[in-house]
């Protein structure tokens, strides 16, 4: 009898233990990991992200583009999501400003980006608050036109633009009010042919070139753009008429597809060459003289689409400094490739998206040490829409085999 009572008590104990292990709703999980596709039910609507930033409230602000009915240029689209990835608000900015360009920069509680006047092509500087309450747009002084890329260093913006009158790529230092602190132009060469890919880039009827601009050291700046008939990485002190150094591409068919300074002359980069893609996680580049991207080698990745978009993020996963490369695969997924920053050694990969096509736009390390990936997906296989993948710290750590 005692044995039977013991058996019954054991069953009751195990049963109680199981009840205590039941799944509880946990909002933390909903913050750490989610996938959201922001859908608009208009058949003709087209939205794509350019850059995403996490806001102080844990949410996300996305700078994007949208198709305009009455303009060849891209309209400006801003979207706010909360920390769970839920849609909060969107703004379709009036068509008096078009062609938004990265980077989306947080400065003094506002988020800044550059765009342009569709009639004059004059560059404009825009800012918006984290809740998308109001967008303020101011013309950049000095007649800068065709903004292509921007970065933010030492409380000033470095703006890359194109002057189609002088056929020059122009690098400028711009303060947050739109005033020009300094500016220098470099010839792209002469003739209609060399300008054609640039104009097609702006009206999005041709290849989207990976224009970049930034600062390497106290008086050394760089831009990735057209120079001397070639899509090149150009180093400049912004005073000399000639660049300090040039890493040449292959006219419009080769060059860097992404670039991130790692300190000194070291860069994490990727390059394209007549459709092929090469990742170069850690390489010292010559900032003086003339060299060629073809000589840089790199890891060839045939899984990527020809001339793939590449984004590079310097991230800290646990205690390790890691480079995360995001790109578009031929299987229509977003591929994430993890490399050790110090050595450039490959660690692992992860692929996002399935069924519908997905394309990379932006990588952001989040305040919870996770990763947010913003991209374009084609809902129902055809409607371009903005999507966000949020990966948790634990998911990232699993990519380091921890």
């Amino acid at each position: 009898m005692l044995k039977r009572i013991n058996t019954i008590l054991s069953i009751v104990f195990v049963f109680s233990l199981m009840l205590s292990c039941s799944e509880e709703s946990n909002p933390e999980f909903d913050i750490q990991t989610f996938t959201t596709i922001f859908d608009n039910n208009k058949f003709d609507a087209s939205f794509f992200p350019i850059e995403m930033r996490q806001t102080a409230d844990g949410g996300y602000i996305v700078l994007g583009g949208r198709k305009l009915d009455d303009s060849n240029f891209t309209g400006i689209y801003l979207l706010k999501a909360d920390k769970f990835g839920n849609f909060v608000k969107e703004i379709e900015v009036e068509e008096t400003s078009v062609n938004p360009v990265a980077k989306l920069t947080e400065y003094q509680t506002k988020y800044y980006f550059f765009c342009m006047d569709p009639l004059t092509q004059q560059a404009q500087i825009a800012n918006v608050d984290a809740n998308l309450e109001a967008v303020t747009i101011t013309p950049v002084q000095g007649g800068l036109t065709y903004p292509a890329a921007a970065s933010f260093v030492d409380n000033s913006f470095i703006l890359l633009g194109y002057n189609n009158g002088d056929k020059q790529t122009v690098i400028s230092i711009v303060n947050p009010d739109g005033g020009i602190l300094s500016s220098k132009g470099y010839s792209i060469g002469t003739g209609e042919d060399i300008e054609e890919p640039i104009i097609k880039h702006y009206i999005r009827t041709g290849r989207q070139y990976p224009f970049e601009v930034g600062k390497v050291s106290s008086n050394l700046y760089f831009f990735n753009g057209f120079f001397n008939y070639t899509f090149s990485l150009v180093f400049t002190d912004m005073t000399s008429d000639d660049p300090v150094g040039v890493v040449q591409g292959q006219q419009a068919d080769g060059g860097f597809s992404a670039l991130t300074p790692l300190g000194g002359n070291k860069f994490a980069s990727s390059r394209f060459n007549f459709g092929e893609n090469f990742l170069i996680p850690n390489k010292e580049l010559s900032t003086s003289g003339i060299t060629s991207t073809v000589d840089l080698g790199g890891y060839s990745l045939p899984e990527l689409v020809p001339n793939a978009n590449v984004r590079i993020l310097r991230a800290k996963i646990d205690t390790e400094n890691v480079l995360i490369y995001g790109s578009d695969t031929k299987s229509k997924q977003i591929g994430l490739l993890f490399y050790e920053e110090a050595t450039g050694t490959f660690i692992s990969s992860r692929y996002l998206g399935f069924s519908n096509p997905f394309e990379i736009a932006s990588l952001t390390q989040t305040s919870d040490e996770g990763l947010a990936v913003c991209g374009t997906t084609y809902v129902a296989g055809r409607f371009p829409r903005i999507c966000i993948f949020k990966l948790s710290k634990e998911q990232l750590a699993s990519n380091l085999n921890k």
Partner: protein
């Protein structure tokens, strides 16, 4: 098929048990004495049995989740519509019960296969050109295999050859396996005509998308029919009311294949209505001849 096999097994065992019964005619004095002993003996008994049958499931949404976040239309228009008590599952149970003065304390480990489905649909259309319209419908079916571990108290309402009973209890369910299938279909009017299409279903193992365990309460009624040969036939109707979430909160977005088509599991509790038929055998006998005194 599993259900039929189990029922046949019960039937064969019942026949075998029947063959072991020895029939005697007691005298009047012995009968009276025997009745007193019987009454005392019948106050408690252990029963072992098997039962199996079909079940239907219903999902209760605790909190809804969606991959698709509408920016210019109401989320309710693409909400999931659950198809409750429509897809037939099956269960098989081993029953161990202790009878004491009309009450049965029962442990009934069960293998339960349950199914439920939901659907949602999306429409994209153009205001300027009415032929530019695409409609997409998704049908999502879940198949869950659980080990159900219930503790049940039964009460025999009426004690005779036919013994109806009511039952109450609680259960814990341990996930064994899960699969999801997604079938998409639609109508595309933008191709120049009405293009009705249906894509191949996506079928994925979905064990990670569901909670490893959940629990619930149960109630029901049933009836035992004494065949008079140590065997009771049992008809059991049970309603299991899920009390905790069956979805994994941590792995909700764990399947890229499902996320890609816009599917994320809601937080759900699962109700289950089951009907089982089986048989019970006594485990305590008055004599070595397997006489149980069960009338």
């Amino acid at each position: 098929m599993k259900t039929t096999t189990l029922f046949m097994l019960c039937f064969v065992v019942a026949l075998a048990a029947s063959g072991q019964e020895k029939k005697r005619k007691p005298s009047a004095y012995n009968q009276q004495k025997q009745n007193k002993e019987d009454e005392k003996f019948l106050e408690k008994q252990w029963w072992l049995g098997f039962k199996a049958g079909p079940n239907l499931s219903k999902a209760h949404v605790v909190k809804t989740y969606s991959i698709i976040a509408p920016t210019n239309y109401e989320a309710s228009t693409i909400g999931k519509k659950y198809d409750n008590f429509n897809l037939v599952g099956a269960q098989a149970t081993i029953e161990v019960s202790f009878y004491f003065k009309r009450f049965l304390f029962s442990f009934q480990p069960t293998y339960q296969n349950s199914r439920f489905a939901y659907s949602n649909s999306f429409v994209w259309s153009s205001e300027s050109d009415l032929t530019n319209r695409v409609e997409l419908n998704f049908e999502q079916e879940q198949k869950l295999d659980h080990a159900i571990l219930p503790l049940i108290i039964k009460y025999d309402i009426y004690g005779n050859r036919l013994r109806p009973y009511v039952q109450l209890g609680a259960y814990s369910a341990i996930l064994i396996n899960a699969t999801k299938s997604v079938t998409s279909s639609g109508i595309d009017n933008a191709a120049g005509g009405e293009n009705v299409f249906q894509n191949e279903p996506i079928i994925v193992g979905a064990k990670d998308l569901f909670a490893k365990s959940y629990w619930g309460l149960l109630g029901g009624l049933g009836v035992n029919y004494n065949l008079g040969n140590n065997v009771r036939l049992n008809l059991d109707i049970m309603y299991k009311y899920g009390m905790s979430n069956i979805s994994s909160t941590e792995n909700r977005y764990g399947s890229d294949r499902l996320s890609g088509v816009g599917d994320a599991m809601d937080d759900l509790t699962l109700d289950n209505l089951s009907v089982s038929i089986g048989c019970l055998f006594p485990m305590r006998f008055l004599s070595s001849g397997f006489k149980s005194l069960d009338h």
